[in-house]
């Protein structure tokens, strides 16, 4: 699974992009986030407050109950501030 990080999530995790293997028993976005939090202290710290984390799966906004698989491109980022 390709995971992209943007803005301060990129800074805190310490990378813009990483490839991880999603366990096959994890099939929803919410469970994936819990699993990601356990990857390293940096992941845990960056993802400590999920209320300020937005998720996109294959470049579409996704919610906790939406499906996700190891073949997907997942992006994590803070609420957007463009315009």
């Amino acid at each position: 699974m390709k995971i992209l990080y943007f803005a301060w999530l990129r800074t805190r995790v310490g990378t813009a992009e990483e490839t991880l293997t999603l366990p096959s028993n994890i099939t929803e976005v919410g469970a994936m986030l819990s699993w990601l939090q356990g990857q390293s202290p940096k992941h845990e710290s960056a993802l400590a407050d999920l209320s300020v984390v937005r998720v996109a799966v294959n470049q579409e906004y996704a919610r906790a109950g939406d499906p996700v698989s190891d073949q997907d491109e997942v992006a994590l980022f803070p609420p957007v501030t463009g315009g």
Partner: protein, 150 residues
């Protein structure tokens, strides 16, 4: 039309490009967003706009589709810059053209409100103390929510 670019744009040239040679347009609304030198108490010296290539274009194209569904538009243009900008620089341009002014004015406000809450852009501001990521404002979400889109 959607454009993401590092270069500046010329609002007058873009408006002219949309209207030139047409005689069916009654009103053209536009909005230009620019970098301010302060945000509350902080003096801002520069700002960097990051985005999510691929998803940005998809989101903006979806916003344009939604605007064209809700209003009768003859043309619609969104330009958003990325990269480092300084106070006074232009960030974003929205232009909408319609036979009637209400469609142009409302869709222009809709597009900029939604762009602020849906399009994956993030601002990092630089001031005398260093740099910080701009936090999303609740009033932007409120402004977007009045259009009742999900």
């Amino acid at each position: 039309m959607i454009r993401i670019q590092t270069e500046d744009f010329d609002p007058g040239q873009e408006i002219d490009g949309i209207t030139r040679g047409r005689t069916d347009i009654g009103g053209i609304a536009s909005f230009v967003g620019t970098v301010r030198d302060s945000d509350g108490d902080d003096g801002i010296t520069a700002m960097t706009l990051e985005h999510y290539p691929g998803m940005t274009e998809k989101q903006l194209a979806a916003l344009e589709d939604e605007a064209r569904k809700r209003w009768s538009l003859l043309d619609c243009l969104i330009i958003h810059r990325v990269g480092r900008l300084v106070p006074g620089d232009r960030i974003v341009l929205v232009v909408t053209a319609s036979s009637h002014r209400a469609d142009a004015l409302e869709s222009c406000a809709f597009l900029i409100d939604w762009l602020k809450t849906k399009a994956p852009f993030w601002k990092k501001e630089e001031n005398a103390d260093g740099e910080r990521w701009v936090e999303a404002r609740a009033e932007d979400t409120d402004a977007a929510n009045r259009w009742e889109i999900s």
